[in-house]
Subunit: 326 residues, 2 copies
């Protein structure tokens, strides 16, 4: 499993490649939240989400011969783009298996980052069988999106940055709200904070109806979502917490927080207006919790990760429509 | 006039207050431009534009007794917000004179940052007379928006950051494109680059119809715009180059570049899509020049400053409407 030493080693490997994102703020957001709000904008990371960290960490941890054969991933979203770009930068071929009904823009972006995209028919084909066959034929290494120690280590590098930058701003205690799907980012940040900023506590934030992590933490065992797909926060809809990420979250995280889709849209609009940042719905749930669910928080400062910004225009328009008209 | 020593002293004074903005990039923008594009996102600066740097620099350069009496500024836009926040942070009262028909949101924001807003009737009242009276009565110090040595020094601190960060990325020669109104940011950056990165050359970028600096540089004497107001790029519409800024630009800058309003809107849309940044029209003209006017540039890398992101929603909607629909 991922250790703090693995996170520090990942930070060394991705140094100069992944961006060290800053901690941003706005007095207008502080006023809404009733406390100081610091934002970690991973939407500014390469490929528009934190996923690049884990992808670069995992691919750079492979031996040279293994890496040269290539990597494979299943994703129609941010993990696909992170893997595609990191693989190209390190000279590793990358195959991404995507459903053929994935948004054209995401397919186009993943190809533009240099990956070979293999499309499959969700109704008639078995994704895993296609992946297994390609991996065996070509000797590709599968990079899982979250339940993979070197991916968690890569995501944890953002936690090292939060620990260092929060301390430099005089923040020693705070809840650190993390947009949570399978828990790779949340677990990675929790491990980094445990080592470098024990007064900061990671807390997962999820959308209503997809609150598997929140319920699992409350029940002290892994619980699944009743539904899958169809939600606005597509980037963080996973069936259940990971086998590797859940024990970490259980040991280190505070209670989960659940926000509505409307909360996420309103947070996107405020990120646009007050931070000049583009957030996607799943990337805005932590900010939504900081702004609109303060009664569940402790302390006079809260840190919220905006985990990604890859949003289609119609959904972004819906977000801006939540602003009061001037 | 502003010297490199004044810029370094301003950097010391604003250190820990102004944000050191990063240099961002996207392979998609590189492909459009046909060269490497690095973006300096001053839209992420406090108050959403570079103006905070000059405001903080100028107010912090005042003696304690002068500062305690307060400052005054004329602005309905980014300078107003920069002065308001910097003054509040340093305990200086701030009075901002704004036309009573200024957008309500800008008036509200300026007040929210802690300034006293004095409204006047453009048709019937004399702005300067009101300002003079208040300044005399209360002993306020006028902070001009660009033709003021300590303001130029503050804006120049972004040039010090560009010089340092470009070198760390291996960039020794490049055009540095700067959104240009009165020339405070352009002149400040040019002075910083002269000292710290002589292979980088500042070049002003202006909107069509308001290209006073470009024409002045070409004619080697100050020329005025034929029209004022009404343009999309409101943040950078000034009647003519400043008496202090023009000689600096004349000595150090490459030729100006002129872009259309439509170029600016397209650049805003690409900043949203590829950089996850919110730019205002006047803040996007330099990126527009980098992307769409490459034949006027030299070298395999270009650096473009996004100078601000304070844009109203209807104009932002117009920008996104320029994107091809998926």
């Amino acid at each position: 499993m991922t250790s703090i030493d693995m996170i520090r080693a990942a930070a060394d490997r991705i140094d100069g490649h992944a961006r060290h994102t800053p901690l941003l703020s706005s007095p207008f957001l502080d006023e809404i939240a009733g406390r100081r709000v610091l934002i970690k904008p991973e939407c500014l990371q390469h490929t528009g989400s934190f996923k690049y960290r884990g992808a670069r960490s995992a691919i750079s941890a492979l031996g040279a011969a293994t890496r040269a054969k290539g990597v494979i991933a299943f994703s129609s979203g941010n993990h696909a783009q992170g893997i595609a770009l990191a693989a190209r930068q390190m000279g590793a071929p990358a195959v991404i298996i995507m459903p053929e009904d994935a948004p054209r823009l995401k397919i186009a972006n993943t190809r533009a980052y240099g990956a070979e995209v293999v499309l499959y028919d969700r109704a008639r084909e078995d994704r895993d069988a296609i992946g297994d066959r390609l991996a065996t034929e070509r000797g590709l290494t599968l990079i899982k999106p979250f339940d993979e120690p070197q991916v968690i280590a890569g995501q944890g590098t953002s936690g090292l940055e939060i620990a260092r930058d929060a301390r430099a701003m005089g923040v020693e205690t705070a809840d650190v709200l993390v947009c949570c799907g399978g828990g790779g980012l949340t677990a990675g940040i929790a491990l980094a904070l445990e080592a470098d900023a024990p007064g900061l506590r990671a807390r997962p934030v999820e959308p209503q109806g997809y609150d598997d992590v929140t319920r699992s933490l409350a029940a002290d065992r892994i619980e699944r979502n009743a539904q899958m797909g169809g939600g606005l926060c597509d980037a963080i809809l996973t069936p259940q917490p990971g086998d590797l990420t859940f024990p970490v979250m259980q040991r280190l995280c505070g209670p989960g927080i659940v926000v509505s889709d409307d909360d996420a849209l309103r947070a996107m609009a405020l990120a646009w207006q007050r931070l000049k940042l583009v957030a996607e719905p799943g990337g805005a749930v932590a900010l939504a919790a900081a702004l609109f669910h303060g009664q569940q928080l402790q302390g006079d400062t809260v840190i919220a990760v905006i985990s990604g910004g890859n949003v289609d225009q119609p959904i972004f328009d819906r977000a801006l429509a939540t602003l009061p008209q001037a």
